[in-house]
Amino acid sequence: MNKTIAFASEAVAGIGDGTTVMIGGFGGSGAPIELIHALIDAGPKNLTIINNNAGNGHVGLAALIEQGMVAKMICSFPRSADPKVFTDLYLAGKIELEIVPQGTLAERIRAGGAGIPAFYTPTSYGTELAEGKLVAEFEGRHYVQERWLKADFALIKAELGDPLGNLTYRMAARNFNPLMATAATRTVAQVTRIVAAGEIDPEQVVTPGIFIDGIVEVPDPEQEESLNREGAVYP
């Protein structure tokens, strides 16, 4: 079994117009910048993107949005140090936004990967984000029903990967990546280093290979924060 893919361009080749894509990361931490840039190069339109944020500056997710490739964002916090790209399009009515509380976003993605079509959470009860949603009472407290969230594709970033697709993550870059890996029809990970099967201690695997369809080695991945401090723009 060898899930290695040679080029990022090949990894994103299946993402066509109208695809729903989960992109890992919390801000720049754990964001698969190189896969996002390969997706920009490929150029599909009318994407729905699921991410915690909505891009920062003019690289990565912000660049994807700036290219006009994104029809809808599903996220919890579309603000950043430099949110101009998203903000302008949103205020001009040119991009749709579904705002989801951060913990609910995480749990909906987990549910999508775990075969749980719906669950109840106290989060958002009584607020405008719960409008139109089913409410139920359990032991005297009110909860909102939330639905699973799935995607056609997930693009994630990991640290080590083996040919079976087993992954580890670097520090807080873990965030949404292991969840999104489980909830997409096809998941591709960029990893800093590919190691041989067995080199990752089975107790230290964070994402077991069953969730992964392809891995691409990107030895020195860019950090969104560093790129933005340099004023980088993609492409």
Binding site: R110, G113, A114, G115, L164, N166, G198, I210
Partner: protein, 228 residues
């Protein structure tokens, strides 16, 4: 009929061998406790299959030699196992996320009864005693294919493939293929479709020990299995 069947019918090992031939290269597979576990022995060469066990291991291998067991490293049947390179451990919630979430390609289970609508009964004889379900009700949901390996009839010679199950159900409409001691049968659109039968056995004789109509769509191949 019964005595004749007993001489004709495949052994458990032979049923397991036949089921093993359908495992695809690269598949993620859960083999139920007991008889289905035997399928791993017959995995065709050159096919890479990753085995999942509900208690939280992916990529396990054969049993260790006697005396080499580590009792922290067991399968769902609580038998000692070994690891292949690239194995992973995880907790039970993650393990059943794999199961329910549609990440397994194949689950193979035993059965008391299978109905033509795909219903499966394999967890309770309905006779009282101590009920025990384990992971069976989870496994029947989520895997892309849910196969059953079973004798074609009970020890008393009664059909196990029926119009409707009489025993308590494990899951509704979940079985996609049945490998029996006499035939290979798919469940399609609520009907049993015969794919292979032992060449020594006539269709009529097979139908007579099957509790629901066997449909034929296209060719019925010979069920050919080596001596084991």
């Amino acid at each position: 009929m019964s005595a004749a069947l007993d001489t004709l019918k495949l052994s458990s090992a032979q049923i397991a061998w036949r089921a093993a031939q359908d495992m695809e290269d690269g598949a993620y597979v859960n083999l139920g406790i007991g008889f289905p576990e035997m399928i791993a022995k017959f995995q065709p060469e050159g096919r890479d299959v990753v085995y999942h066990t509900e208690n939280g291991v992916l990529g396990f291998g054969e049993a260790p030699a006697a005396g080499e067991e580590d009792w922290d490293l067991i399968n769902a049947g609580k038998k000692a196992i070994t690891l292949k390179p690239g194995a992973a451990f995880f907790h039970h919630a993650d393990s059943f996320a794999m199961v329910r979430g549609g990440h397994l390609d194949l689950a193979v289970l035993g059965a008391y009864q299978v109905a033509e609508n795909g219903d499966l009964a394999n967890w309770s004889t309905g006779k009282g005693g101590v009920p025990a379900v384990g992971g069976a009700m989870d496994l029947v949901h989520g895997a892309k294919r849910v196969a059953v390996v079973t004798d074609h009839v009970t020890r008393k010679g009664e059909p196990k493939l029926l119009k409707r199950c009489a025993l308590p159900l494990t899951g509704l409409g979940c079985v996609t293929r049945v490998y029996t001691s006499l035939a290979v049968i798919d469940v399609e659109d609520g009907r049993f479709v015969l794919r292979e039968r032992l060449p020594q056995l006539s269709f009529e004789d097979l139908q007579s020990v099957t509790g629901a109509e066997l449909k034929i769509h296209g060719d019925v191949a010979d069920l050919a299995v080596p001596e084991l």
